[in-house]
């Protein structure tokens, strides 16, 4: 069993959805029930494999790549079929394999127009392969292939099953992402050739950068290319404009997957690829990433205050929340990046839930115009309470998951890593803290307008407006339980991610210079780049690293 998982576990988890797709292709489209069953069983099977992986996962060595596979894939370009998971990828994989079956259950009886469950479910399964693949890939080329694989299904999901403005939104989504990834590919290649690495495997590239020494300018350019590619996917201000459109037009399930998993591909890229491989360039770029992150926080929040459509509001809140994640990443500290991983999981669960709720409300009210809503707590009390809980989680109430993403990210900005300007990040910290106030503002205001009060005359006697249905309960309960569980016991995530994050950071980023002698600083050999001198402390002790 263990051996089987070791060699094949990740491959099975990644490609099982494609087997499901192959089976579904053979079944005629008219047999809808059979399609739903095949898709559900496939996604549950993937979830089961992931749970088995979790059970077998050696929690004592989260920094080590486990279940690793390394086979030559494309010999001519020295690309490997290299898979493996550590404590950073595991939570995200679990999130993915949880969300997909829930989405299938949620859409069981109400597929959006133009219906066609066969095609819709096939796209979801293809998406699953792409998402899981991105999180397990340990080779740049393989990573790129999976990263791109999610594009087409999401494009069609928005374009075919989306809202009235779907053509514009889907094309915008597609072009933005592809533009980023085209430049990202060029920087991947430049990285490979300038370092003369043995292969595209992450570890080889990191070694090659460390030992061969790529020129500083080249590193900065390469990091810049990755910043564009990953930053558009996150999305960071000012590349975020595709997100509100895509979210507003996408069908409910599409929005959920987009928010819960797809956005994480970008932040994951930073944590997994950009920072470990190019730490020196990361230090240079960190203030700018931090700046864009806090602009995103404030801009997203102000954007939320101005929205009249509930779905669009949640989309803008994503921009703000991903700003917190990026701020945590920009500190380049163990603490900040752990906060980012937590933020990714929390945002996936909470914003995913909010989009589910938005979809269910749209189905009942046929509109998400906030000014026309109201009185949800009266008409559908259970749904109203769930909505309230998610709003509280989203604004970062302690005891719910959102808190553990936001608060540590802000705190980590107090003492960024060696070489990152401390004063700048303390200013960012203050601004980000203000952002949480704004977040509370727009979220509570949304709750007040949509859920409190009495129903407007328009909907007062609408028989359409019912409380939470069975399908909705099945889809939502696991997510709600996790939001609370992680909120109460955040170590569920931190225990997995901490070791891996720590190992992914260059030692010069985290060394505490105040305890070193001059000789020891000299021995590090990186004092210049990371501005380490005897007796100074970048403030690590403050956070108690």
């Amino acid at each position: 069993m263990e051996n089987l998982l070791d060699g094949w576990g990740l491959t099975v988890a990644t490609f099982s959805p494609m087997v499901g797709v192959a089976v579904m292709l053979l079944i005629p489209g008219a047999q809808e029930h059979r399609h739903k069953m095949v898709a559900l069983v496939t996604s549950l099977w993937v979830a089961l494999v992931a749970v088995l992986l979790l059970i077998e996962f050696d929690i004592g060595h989260t920094d080590r790549l486990q279940f690793a596979v390394d086979k030559v894939w494309i010999d001519v370009i020295s690309s490997h079929y290299s898979l493996g998971i550590d404590g950073i990828s595991l939570p995200l994989i679990l999130l993915t394999v949880l969300i997909v079956p829930l989405c299938i259950i949620y859409s069981w009886n109400h597929f959006p127009e133009p219906h066609n469950p066969k095609a819709f479910l096939i796209l979801i399964l293809v998406l699953e392969t792409g998402m899981v693949g991105t999180f397990v890939a340990q080779d740049l080329v393989l990573f790129f292939v999976f990263f791109e694989l999610v594009l087409l299904p999401m494009f069609f999901m928005i374009a075919v099953w989306g809202g009235p403005n779907r053509r514009y939104a889907s094309l915008k989504f597609f072009l933005f992402t592809l533009f980023g990834s085209a430049l990202m590919l060029v920087s991947f290649l430049a990285l490979f050739f300038l370092t003369g690495a043995e292969s595209f495997v992450f570890a080889d590239l990191a070694d090659a950068v460390a030992s061969h020494g790529v020129s500083r300018t080249a590193q900065l350019w390469i990091f810049g290319g990755m910043l564009l590619g990953f930053g558009i996917k996150v999305p960071m201000f000012p590349f975020h404009t595709w997100l509100p459109d895509a979210h507003t037009e996408a069908p409910t399930v599409g929005s959920v997957i987009l928010a819960a998993v797809l956005l994480k591909l970008g932040t994951y890229g930073f944590i997994r690829i950009a920072i470990p491989i190019l730490p020196e360039a990361a230090v240079e770029w960190a203030p700018w990433i931090g700046l864009l992150a806090v602009i995103g926080i404030i801009y997203g929040a102000l954007g939320c205050l101005a929205q009249t459509d509930m779905k669009r509001l949640i989309a803008f809140s994503s921009v703000a929340h991903m700003g917190f994640v990026m701020l945590g990443i920009a500190t380049l500290t163990d603490f900040g990046i752990n906060a980012a991983v937590m933020g990714m999981v929390a945002h996936g669960l909470i914003t995913g839930m909010l989009f589910f709720l938005a979809g269910s409300m749209k189905e009942r009210y046929h509109t998400l115009e906030i000014s026309r809503l109201g009185g949800l707590l009266v008409q559908a009390p259970r749904m109203g309470w769930i909505f309230g809980l998610c709003i509280m989680a989203s604004l970062g109430l302690p005891g719910l998951a959102g808190f553990w993403g936001e608060f540590p990210a802000i705190l980590s900005a107090y003492s960024p890593a060696n070489g990152v300007p401390v004063e700048t990040f303390r200013i960012y910290m203050v601004i980000a803290a203000l952002g949480t106030v704004l977040a509370a503002g727009y979220l509570l205001w949304l709750l007040q307008r949509a859920a409190f009060g009495t129903p407007s005359d328009e909907f007062a006697d609408d028989p359409n407006i019912t409380d939470t249905t069975r399908d909705e309960w099945i889809a939502w309960v696991p997510m709600l339980v996790l939001i609370v569980a992680i909120g109460v016991y955040p170590n569920l995530v931190f225990r997995l991610s901490d070791g891996a994050v720590d190992a992914s950071l260059h030692q010069c980023l985290k060394v505490d210079a105040s305890e070193l002698t001059a000789a020891q600083v000299e021995a590090l050999g990186c004092a210049d780049v990371y501005k380490i001198s005897v007796g100074t402390s970048a403030g690590h002790a403050v956070v108690g690293g």
């Binding site: 489209g29 894939w73 494309i74 010999d75 001519v76 370009i77 133009p114 095609a119 080329v141 790129f144 292939v145 999976f146 791109e148 694989l149 594009l151 087409l152 494009f155 069609f156 374009a159 075919v160 779907r166 053509r167 889907s170 094309l171 597609f174 072009l175 592809l178 533009f179 085209a182 430049l183 590919l185 060029v186 290649l189 430049a190 490979f192 050739f193 300038l194």
Partner: protein
């Protein structure tokens, strides 16, 4: 001694029959079609296409045996060479030719055109391509080029009573002859320098001639420009859109894939065997052709309303991608080899995905009778399989993993980056930006097919035919295979021409 010379002069040059077996098989197939038609007249019509297809497939057998044999065979003092490069390109030509026959079967039969002549000409043109792959001499290159072009002129004008088809034929003919003339002029200049038509001799003469001889530069520029017409590289692409629209669609597919590939093969041989010592001449030339082709092709493609016209401009842009690696090919021998395999890889993938796209267009246009993009709207509702197929082919043309095109584009980027020159990086960035522009028009067509309603709610199903279906299956399978296991194509295209030339 003198007696020996005399007897030698009267002896026919030694011929390696095994090396010639593909050409002879193809010739026999063409002759057989003509004979069958003369003997059986109308009764033979239903079988002509099958005969032609079998002939092409039979030609692959000697190519296989030659590949297994593995030895390089040189004939006529180096003018005709059968090596790995020749074999792999011949295989690409023949397989694309076979798919074109599959595409033509119903089109020609339903249009009540002259089947025997059509397939005869198609095989003749293929014959020119197969010869082109082995030609390492200006004269044999030129003969092969005319042999592949002249039947193509006729086939473009095949819809005899259609004005557009006639216009296309005439336009293609005039442009083609003009290009041949330019090229011949360039060849005459090179012959003047080298005193020989053989590419290896020209290569030696170019090395001996010293750094700056204007005649050599002019010769190279003219020859390359002549082939730029053939491969429809901007600014020599103006014939392509009109000819593509006017020609019968299977012939368009043939021109867009096989005929274009033949132009590239000739270009590769000329550059690698002949001009390799002059990177300062051909590199900037190719750089400009590549950058201009990508940009012009993509920008004009954005505004097209006819799908075949769009394919013409997308073809111009793809040409830019295909030749881009040659812009750094002279950097060093290793990069030259990589550039060669990048071009061949792209050609192989391009053949599969482009023929596939044309197969979908032909199938869907059989129903609506129109190639306007509007008439493809809502295809997802009445032809979901076709829509998925088109998504695979267009996605591949746009270079989205895991469809074959991504690996081809990846190889181009890789070679440009490996050279490590600012010019290479600049071209890579231009290519990256163009890849995104191209995505817009590919995605716009796909959006119409997936997301819109069929015009006038017309949901009749699409009539499938066995030959079109098999063409789709072949192209789709190859496109996916190359994307998921690129090693397959990379293994075959890992060949070199430099061992011969320099």
């Amino acid at each position: 001694m003198s007696v020996e010379l005399l007897t030698l002069a009267f002896e026919r040059p030694p011929i390696d029959w095994h090396a010639f077996a593909p050409e002879i098989t193809l010739l026999c197939a063409g002759a057989l079609i003509t004979l069958v038609d003369i003997v059986f007249l109308e009764k033979a019509r239903p079988y002509t296409a099958a005969l032609a297809g079998l002939g092409v497939l039979a030609t692959l057998i000697p190519i296989l045996t030659l590949a297994l044999d593995g030895a390089d065979r040189t004939m006529f003092g180096g003018a005709y060479v059968v090596d790995d490069f020749a074999l792999i390109t011949k295989a690409i030509f023949l397989l694309s030719g076979y798919v074109v026959i599959l595409l033509s079967t119903n089109y020609v039969a339903e249009g009540d055109y002259w089947e025997n002549e059509y397939y005869g000409l198609l095989l003749a043109s293929l014959m020119g391509m197969v010869m082109m792959a082995s030609s390492r001499d200006l004269i044999s290159i030129f003969v092969a080029l005319e042999l592949l072009s002249i039947p193509a002129y006729l086939m473009v004008a095949w819809r005899k009573r259609d004005l557009r088809s006639n216009e296309a034929g005439l336009k293609y003919y005039l442009m083609g002859v003009f290009a041949s003339a330019v090229m011949l002029y360039g060849m005459s200049l090179l012959f003047g320098v080298a005193g020989s038509t053989q590419l290896t001799h020209i290569a030696d003469a170019l090395v001996d001639a010293g750094p700056s001889v204007a005649v050599i530069t002019m010769g190279i520029v003219f020859v390359v420009a002549g082939f730029a017409f053939k491969v429809s590289a901007a600014p020599f692409h103006t014939w392509a859109p009109d000819v593509y629209v006017g020609a019968p669609t299977p012939v368009t597919a043939f021109l867009a894939v096989a005929s274009k590939a033949a132009g590239f093969v000739a270009l590769l041989q000329l550059i690698y065997v002949g001009f390799y010592s002059r990177p300062e001449v051909f590199e900037p030339l190719i750089w400009i052709l590549a950058a201009v082709s990508m940009t012009v092709g993509n920008l004009i493609a954005l505004r097209q309303t006819n799908l075949v016209r769009l394919m013409a401009y997308s073809g111009v842009a793809q040409t830019g991608f295909i030749i881009a690696p040659l812009a750094v090919a002279g950097h060093s021998g290793a990069i030259g080899d990589q550039a060669l395999s990048a071009v061949l890889t792209y050609l192989a993938v391009y053949a599969a995905m482009n023929l596939g796209a044309f197969a979908v267009i032909i199938t869907l246009a059989r129903r609506s009778g129109s190639a306007e993009i509007e008439s493809f709207s809502g295809a997802f509702h009445y032809a979901p399989a076709m829509t998925v197929a088109m998504t695979i082919f267009f996605g591949s043309l746009a270079g989205i993993p895991p469809l074959g095109g991504w690996f081809a584009k990846f190889e181009v980027f890789r070679v440009l980056a490996t050279a490590g020159e600012p010019w290479g990086y600049a071209l890579a960035v231009i290519a990256a930006v163009n890849a995104v522009i191209a995505l817009y028009y590919y995605a716009a067509v796909l959006l119409k097919m997936w997301a819109e309603d069929a015009p006038e709610g017309d949901h009749r199903p699409v009539p499938f035919t066995p030959s079109l279906t098999s063409a789709l299956v072949i192209c789709g399978g190859v496109t996916l295979l190359f994307g998921v296991v690129p090693q397959v194509v990379a293994r075959f295209t890992d060949v070199s021409l430099l061992a011969l030339g320099g």
